[in-house]
């Protein structure tokens, strides 16, 4: 497998691994900035799988989906960072641990 031909499975496996790395970042890092970066990794992992699928099937539609994902990701980053800035103004910190006002 290592030295064999590159298959769709290779790309899917890479996508999965990238996703898991991003997931670990989302779950384990305290800084909300890093968490948002890890979220970008998650989206990219999905994009990679989509593009591989488009290549495999020979159709352009998944690539359009990737296009939309990138657009939405841009919007998400903008809003997310704006929230982050607002929160920072309020609490002077970006650590996720310090935001526990939902705790009962």
């Amino acid at each position: 497998m290592m030295l064999g031909e590159i298959t769709l499975g290779h790309y899917l496996a890479l996508s999965t691994l990238l996703f898991l790395v991003g997931l670990a970042g989302v779950l384990l890092r305290r800084s909300l900035l890093i968490v948002m970066m890890s979220l970008e990794l998650l989206l990219n992992a999905a994009n990679l799988a989509l593009v591989a699928a488009a290549r495999f099937k020979g159709i352009p539609d998944p690539q359009v989906a990737v296009f939309f994902v990138i657009t939405v990701a841009a919007a998400e980053v903008a809003v997310g960072l704006a929230i982050l800035v607002a929160i920072f103004r309020l609490k002077k910190t970006t650590s996720a641990e310090d935001f526990a006002s939902l705790k009962f």
Binding site: V35, E97, L102, K103, F104
Partner: protein, 601 residues
């Protein structure tokens, strides 16, 4: 052209009612003449219709298609056969006189726009019943007269008694109407038609005896409610809380006889079962006697007349039960004249005595209101069936049919005796002797608007006997007259005057005290104790069910359950957004795992 006359007659009062309600309400000076004018128009139309010859094949106004279901076809059509024409003329004629009378009676009432609007609505509804050519249409107008009766009884809604009486009338009528609609559905399923034109031929082809009996009794139920017969008679005396013109028009002359009119319409169905016919005849016979007894001990002038109305309607019901619709209709028409007259005269006396209704607080009106006194006597003689007044001829025709039914004859002739008794008692107490209250001392005759209608009705009450009503209707020939029924009934009617004269001439208080009659045979008490108590018990049971099971357990219980669950789940909240994310991921992984498991298997 004449074919459209029924529509004109029917819709004029409706137009007046709608116009008054929508536009003319604040202007009684315009609203009242509009209502009276509409009634006059209807009356003239009725006269025209009455005089028009009957073309071959009957005469029905053009139909408007309305309900057309499989097996049920009810066009909105008006029937103008002799029966309807006679009834229309009677209704509009009496209604016109009562309208005119009301001009004087309610001249100072600030709400007279409303009164006349409701009166017009009533005339419309009543004419609807008369013209209806099928049971469904009739039922709709039947309910409409119930509504206008409710509105008019409660016209003085400031009085709690009026509101209660209106409610009572409405509710008691509901019971009868329930039976009526069952009867209509029964007739439809049994004969496949609800049209009066088709019923005789369908009924003639026969039907199962007990089914026909059930249908007939159902229809009879409607009559018992509307015409206030046993056991649903309790609302009529209470309905006297309404203004006197209302009592006169609705609760004596027209509306309450709608039940009789309906019975005559469906007579082909009733005839199928001797059980139904005998039930009707016996209810009628008993109801001639009981109210006449009760009336002997009543002190409210309008209630006395109300009980006598019950008794007189019972004569018509008995006539239907004896299968002599001609005399029944005959009595209906003459009764409309003389009973309306009596009520108007009573209203005149009440008006003259400043709204005093207790005959023991009147007295001496003979001198102060001689005209009212005179017309009361005319009405009384007609009511007591003294020749040559109109009541004699119509009642005699009914008595003649009882010649081979001694039970019925005994009841109805005894009722004649008591009728004479209580009517003379009323006259002697109210009009004779000396004034017994401040109001009676200053009594005076009403304005011409009140006098003229009474005069017209008095003339009709005297001469009504010469109307060839049975011939006009073309119904079954009357029974041959039997001398003994005539003489016996006449004898009893005259005999009733003597004890009344002896007891009440110059009496200052009632020398007779019969508790059971004063309490009206305890029927109201029986309903109160039995039915109302049972209903209250059921209500309390339902309330307890609602309170404990619905409100306590289901509503509050589910609320409490949700709150407890929420309080429990709040403990899970740690506020750490990443922990939430982890849980979310685990859930997503679970879903993915489940999908993979499904794909691989």
């Amino acid at each position: 052209m004449i074919a459209y006359a029924p529509y004109l007659i029917l819709l004029l009062p409706l137009l007046a009612a709608v116009a008054i309600r929508l536009f003319l309400y604040p202007f009684p000076r315009i609203a009242v003449p509009v209502s009276v004018g509409a009634c006059l128009g209807s009356f003239l139309g009725s006269l025209m219709l009455l005089n028009a010859g009957t073309p071959a094949g009957g005469m029905a106004a053009p139909a408007v298609p309305w309900i057309e279901l499989a097996g049920l076809k009810a066009g909105f059509s008006l029937v103008a056969d002799p029966l309807a024409r006679l009834m229309t003329t009677t209704v509009t004629g009496v209604a016109l006189l009562v309208h005119i009378y009301s001009l004087g009676y309610l001249a100072k009432d600030p709400c007279r726009s409303r009164f006349f609007a409701e009166l017009s609505l009533f005339v419309f509804s009543m004419l609807g019943i008369v013209f209806a050519d099928n049971l469904i249409t009739m039922f709709i107008f039947w309910e409409l007269v119930g509504l206008s009766s409710y509105l008019l009884i409660g016209f003085w809604h400031q009085r709690p008694a009026a509101g209660a009486a209106a409610n009572k009338a409405f509710l008691v009528n509901r019971i009868g109407d329930f039976g009526f609609i069952l009867g209509i559905l029964g007739a439809w399923s049994l004969f496949g038609t609800i049209s009066f034109a088709d019923l005789p031929s369908r009924a003639a082809s026969g039907a199962p005896f007990w089914a026909a009996t059930a249908v007939g009794l159902g229809l009879l139920c409607g009559c018992l409610g509307k015409s206030a017969q046993l056991p649903l008679h309790v609302w009529l005396p209470d309905s006297m809380e309404g203004p006197t013109p209302v009592s006169s028009l609705l609760h004596a002359a027209t509306m309450v006889v709608a039940g009789v009119y309906m019975l005559i319409r469906v007579l082909p169905i009733l005839e199928l079962s001797w059980v139904t016919m005998n039930t009707i005849a016996w209810i009628g016979a008993v109801m001639t006697l009981l109210p006449a007894l009760i009336a002997c001990q009543q002190n409210d002038i309008k209630r006395i007349l109300a009980y006598s109305t019950l008794s007189e309607i019972a004569y018509m019901v008995m006539a239907v039960g004896l299968n002599i619709p001609g005399p029944g209709m005959y009595h209906l028409v003459t009764h409309a004249f003389f009973k309306c007259l009596l009520f108007l005269a009573a209203g005149s006396a009440i008006h003259g005595c400043h709204e005093e209704q207790d005959i023991w607080k009147m007295g001496g009106l003979r001198k102060r209101m001689p005209f009212t006194f005179l017309v009361t006597w005319v009405g009384t003689l007609a009511l007591a069936a003294i020749p040559p007044f109109s009541g004699f001829w119509s009642k005699d025709a009914i008595f003649a049919a009882t010649y081979d039914r001694p039970g019925l004859a005994a009841c109805s002739m005894a009722a004649g005796f008591f009728t004479s008794f209580f009517m003379l008692r009323m006259i002697l107490v109210a009009f004779g002797g000396k004034p017994r209250s401040e109001g009676a001392t200053h009594a005076h005759e009403g304005p011409p608007a009140m006098v003229v209608p009474m005069l017209c009705l008095a003339v009709l009450s005297v001469l009504g006997g010469i109307l060839p009503i049975s011939d006009f209707l073309g119904m079954k020939p009357d029974h041959p007259h039997h001398a003994w029924t005539l003489w016996l009934s006449l004898l009893l009617a005259v005999a009733g005057f003597f004890p009344a004269y002896h007891l009440y001439q110059g009496a200052m208080q009632d020398p007779l005290r019969v508790p059971i009659l004063q309490a009206k045979f305890y029927v109201d008490e029986f309903y109160q104790r039995g039915l109302v108590a049972m209903q209250d018990g059921l209500g309390r049971l339902a309330d307890a069910f609602e309170g404990w099971v619905v409100r306590g357990f289901l509503v509050r219980g589910s609320g409490v359950a949700a709150r407890v669950a929420g309080q429990g789940l709040r403990l899970v909240q740690c506020g750490q957004v990443q922990l939430y994310a982890a849980v979310f991921i685990l859930g997503a992984l679970g879903v993915v795992g489940w999908l993979l498991g499904r794909v691989s298997s």
